[in-house]
Amino acid sequence: MNTAKIHYERVPSWGYIGMTMLIAVLLTVVPVPEAIQYYWPDWITLVVFYWVLVLPAHLGVMFGWINGLIEDVITFSLLGQHALGKALIGTLAAIGHKKFRLFNFLQKIFLIFILQSINIAISAWTNHLAYGAPVFMQMWQPALTTALMWPVVSFLIDQLDPRYG
């Protein structure tokens, strides 16, 4: 699977972007067995990263922020808890999009691992400051699975786009 071949020059429809966001949110709240819940990837991060790389001129800070806010509302978290991290991911992806586009998929996996780790840290620290919640290593396991899901997710978003090729 060569995911470096994402068609960055296409103009996707807003409807399709919205649909991928919707599916990401749905996957976020779908009930998962207790055994894998600490490995459940952050689908919203993947979708945000993907679309910011495709449309860096249009999507960036606010796209990430809105996605994060939707996640906050849907998971009943503090308003802004996920929005802050997602806005940061949107910003960094938009700033570095020229470099990131040229990354091969291993480099992208590593990049997403870093970005998602920061995202989780922000969310965990917010929880810690607000409720004194403990911060422990298990919380960062989803960063790994999120990064590993990148090839699959980007491939699927590519292939299922009606305007693709």
Binding site: V25, L26, V29, V30, P31, E34, Q37, Y38, W40, G60, V61, M62, W65, I70, V73, I74, T75, F76, S77, L78, L79, G80, Q81, A83, L84, A87, L88, T91, A94, I95, T126, N127, A130, Y131, G132, A133, P134, M139
Partner: protein, 318 residues
């Protein structure tokens, strides 16, 4: 750096400041409760989609009754008989109790508890501070904040957020939740604190002399005025006394199976009058507690009845 990088960074800093303000306001105040309640309605289509498999299962089961279903009906009939028998005994006991209460001229006999049945839409048992269950009853069904929630086995939790057509239950295993309990065998009072794992409650602040054994059943004590007294909460599974520690480290397993139940019961207790309850002196509790360091690091949401600036209520109201 090129120009667009600065634009993006400025924009991010602006958004970040706004978001931090939003987090603080949402955490510290109640300004955003109505917004949250309104926004929360975007959950409705997701809830509908997520419950499709369950509803389809029920739909098909209705049209193709099979052996399992027949067995289930038989089982339920038998169980119903047994329950009816037990209820008769309960009625007799109730009469007996009221007679005794009058005899001892007790100030008030507890009224009957009315029960509402609700269905679970979603369970969120991921993180230690995200132990929540979403149910299909909301403000349109006249449910109230902090209403206790049980299943057929024991206490599940209390309502912590209410929207129009659904509400959120914070379960007793949430790390920010504490349930006032007593040991059924001898009435020893304790607090069952959530740990973040749906199978474990911890019982802090019991000294080595405390009369508690493995297998003891913990029931709600009725203190804290959220849970009515006498509902089963958990069973003690392990007691460890570590040298150098001032208290026993006790673990209990809740009776309610949070990740398996489909239907839950909402209790409506006539005694539950939060609006008129006198404010609890939180500082008095803090000082009276033997381990003040531990008390500082995790406030107990159940104990307080009035919203306070930094403490129990803030956790509940979010």
């Amino acid at each position: 750096m090129p120009n667009h990088v600065f634009t993006l960074l400025y924009r991010f800093v602006f958004v970040a400041i706004l978001t931090i303000a939003l987090i603080i306001l949402d955490h510290r105040t109640t300004y955003f409760d109505w917004t949250r309640s309104l926004l929360s309605n975007i959950n409705t289509p997701f809830n509908t989609v997520l419950t499709v498999p369950v509803r389809m299962g029920t739909f098909f089961a209705d049209y193709w009754p099979n052996e399992t279903l027949r067995q289930r009906v038989e089982f339920l009939e038998i169980e119903n008989q047994q329950l009816l028998a037990k209820v008769q005994k309960y009625d007799a006991l109730e009469v007996e109790k009221n007679r005794l209460l009058v005899l001892f001229s007790a100030s008030q006999a507890r009224g009957d508890v009315s029960i509402k049945m609700a269905r679970i839409i979603r369970t969120e048992l991921q993180g230690p501070y995200d132990q929540r269950i979403v149910i299909d009853h909301g403000s349109r069904d006249q449910v109230k904040l902090y209403q206790p929630v049980i299943d057929s086995n024991g206490v599940i939790g209390q309502l912590s957020k209410i929207s129009y057509n659904h509400s959120v239950v914070t379960v007793i295993t949430d790390a920010s939740h504490a349930t006032p309990v007593e040991v059924l065998r001898n009435g020893l009072r304790a607090v069952a604190r959530g740990t973040g794992s749906s199978q474990v409650l911890s019982i802090p602040f019991l000294s080595f002399q405390a009369d508690i054994e493995v297998g003891d059943v913990l029931v709600t004590s009725g203190l804290g005025e959220v849970f009515p007294a006498g509902y089963p909460v958990a069973e003690v599974v392990s007691i460890q006394g570590l040298a150098g520690e001032p208290f026993l480290s006790i673990e209990a397993r809740p009776f309610a199976e949070m990740n398996k139940v489909k239907n839950i019961l909402l209790l409506d207790q006539p005694l539950l009058v939060r609006e008129t309850a006198p404010p609890v002196d939180v500082e008095m509790f803090e000082n009276a507690r033997p381990d003040s360091a531990a008390a500082d690091e995790s406030p107990e949401p159940v104990e307080s009845t009035e919203p306070t600036e930094s403490g129990p209520q803030a956790v509940q109201a979010q």
